[in-house]
């Protein structure tokens, strides 16, 4: 009896959270097109998000490229298919590994940062202070951050992909004496528009999810300083889960278009 009431409470909480999140998202789209536009703050947020995450994305991308090539090489050699290495690495990085790994790294870096920043603003009454002064804190704080995350994530993914391919090339160069031109010619020969376009489009949605969840968790943070930690933490957990769901949906949609 106790267990079933607990379950129904959790379900109710979950549904309420989904409802609040949906309302928050619809408010974002509504405010996005309302004046005044906060261009200066948007640029500042783009710089913050891009600049703060770029080193992490570069390092992660480079290691992914190295590891993927080192791990795959022996297997491809067994089948005598090592010449397919650039094509295989190129397609897997551009279509899947690059976007999802970069998005997960950014969920940790950007999502938690936004959650903690807005959360601490909420508990120190800075958001309330904006509201009572007749300002629109949602427009100034949320719209700019979500938009910046949406715009910057595709750029970070492109940087991450490029560095991962370069890492892969270094392994191929050392182990197989493959030249830079030959490696990247093979990569771009293997890649088609249908590989690049859906992969790029989904990164906008990844950025949107990271920004929205981080802002939502921070904006409605309570329980004082403990709540700030919880906001940052749950922003990362929920965003990571959402990224996989978006990725799954993106693959399904792409598959439907391929079948057509």
């Amino acid at each position: 009896m106790v267990k079933s009431s607990n379950i129904s409470l959790h379900v109710k909480d979950f549904l309420m959270e989904v409802g609040d999140m949906t309302y928050f998202t619809s408010r974002f789209f509504k405010e996005l097109f309302n004046k005044p536009f906060e261009f200066k703050e948007l640029l500042r947020q783009c710089y913050n998000i891009g600049n703060r995450s770029s080193l992490l994305v570069v390092i992660t991308g480079f290691i992914i490229g190295l590891v993927l090539t080192l791990q795959t090489r022996p297997t491809l050699m067994e089948f005598g298919a090592v010449s397919w290495m650039p094509s295989m690495v190129g397609i897997s990085i551009v279509r899947e590994i690059g976007p999802i790994i970069t998005a997960l790294v950014c969920a940790g870096r950007i999502g938690s940062g936004i959650g903690a920043e807005l959360g601490s603003m909420r508990v120190t009454e800075q958001i309330d202070a904006m509201e009572v002064s007749g300002a629109n804190p949602f427009k100034y704080l949320v719209v700019t951050r979500v938009l910046a995350a949406t715009l910057m994530l595709p750029i970070l993914v492109i940087v991450g992909d490029a560095v991962a391919l370069f890492g892969s090339y270094l392994v191929e160069n050392v182990k197989g004496n493959v030249s830079f031109m030959l490696y990247f010619n093979q990569v771009f020969d293997a890649l088609e528009f249908s590989d690049i376009f859906p992969a790029t489009i989904k990164t906008f949605f990844f950025g949107l999810a990271i920004g929205l969840v981080g802002c939502y968790k921070g904006y409605f943070c309570n329980k004082g300083t403990e709540g700030v930690g919880m906001a940052a933490n749950s922003a990362v957990v929920v965003t990571s889960l959402m990224l996989f769901i978006i990725d799954f949906v993106a693959v399904l949609v792409t598959d439907i278009f391929y079948d057509l």
């Binding site: 603003m121 009454e125 800075q126 309330d128 202070a129 009572v132 002064s133 300002a135 629109n136």
Partner: protein
């Protein structure tokens, strides 16, 4: 009918009637009433957790009351849409307990922030800069203009927050525990500053505090918030000499 009579009373700038607010089973306000008159300093006193901050958050629409009537400048705020509420909020200054200065902005940017949303009222960059300097001069902190909030002391933060409130030229200022967490000398300076502001700008002030010294100096009238209701109303002298055990005990405890 009763509400209508009170709305029409010309000198009342802020009125609360039969305000109720609860959080689950915790009934914080149980029918609270008060009136703030033009040019008056009204002090609301109550113990910590008595619902003082909840009440003022209901006044500016930061929190929704369960029931009751709230009139600010003859507008029933429970019936205002978001846009009208924002317009009304320009007439109300709010000094938060923790100052609530924006961490990521300098003092100048903190003061300019509310004005950028109301450019029609405050004009261009040059006029805004002039108003910033004027507000900082009024609180005696012109030299702090380029500092970040993290570089300011508690008393300085409170002064800057007051300057940010004044810059909007409000008709009513609500102070949430303006002297809490400050040493006695700085607290006294803040109280003197509040008196100066009241005289200079002819504002009406609603001061939430549990600092008896602050109340003694600044209050024209006081309301004691006990058990979620306006338990006693009067001047400081009247309340502090009250024979009512609850009021008496309250003053003894607080002093």
């Amino acid at each position: 009918m009763m509400e209508q009579n009170h709305i029409e009373e010309p000198n009342v700038v802020l009125e609360v009637r039969d305000l109720h607010k609860s959080f689950g089973d915790n009934y914080v306000l149980n029918g609270f009433n008060m009136q703030l008159y033009q040019g008056e300093n009204l002090v609301i006193m109550g113990k910590s957790g008595s619902g003082k901050s909840v009440m003022i958050k209901c006044l500016v629409g930061l929190m929704e009351a369960d029931s009751g009537f709230i009139s600010v400048m003859h507008n029933d705020i429970t019936k205002l849409d978001h846009e009208s509420l924002d317009i009304l909020r320009r007439e109300i200054g709010f000094l938060f307990q923790g100052s609530a200065l924006y961490d990521s902005m300098t003092v100048r940017e903190n003061l300019k922030f509310p004005m950028r949303w109301h450019t029609k009222k405050f004009g261009g960059e040059e006029n805004q800069e002039k108003l910033v300097m004027e507000a900082l001069e009024n609180v005696g902190l012109e030299k702090a203009i380029e500092l970040m909030p993290s570089e300011l002391s508690g008393g300085m933060k409170r002064r800057i927050a007051l300057a940010r409130t004044l810059i909007m030229q409000p008709k009513i200022i609500i102070y949430d525990e303006p002297t809490s967490g400050l040493d006695p000398i700085t607290a006294k300076e803040i109280v003197i500053l509040m008196q100066k502001v009241q005289k200079q700008y002819n504002t009406s002030s609603l001061i939430i505090t549990h600092d008896v010294d602050c109340a003694r100096v600044i209050a024209d009238r006081m309301v004691l918030l006990i058990d979620g209701v306006d338990y006693a109303v009067g001047t400081f002298a009247e309340l502090s000499s009250s024979k009512d055990p609850k009021v008496k005990a309250f003053f003894k405890e607080e002093v």
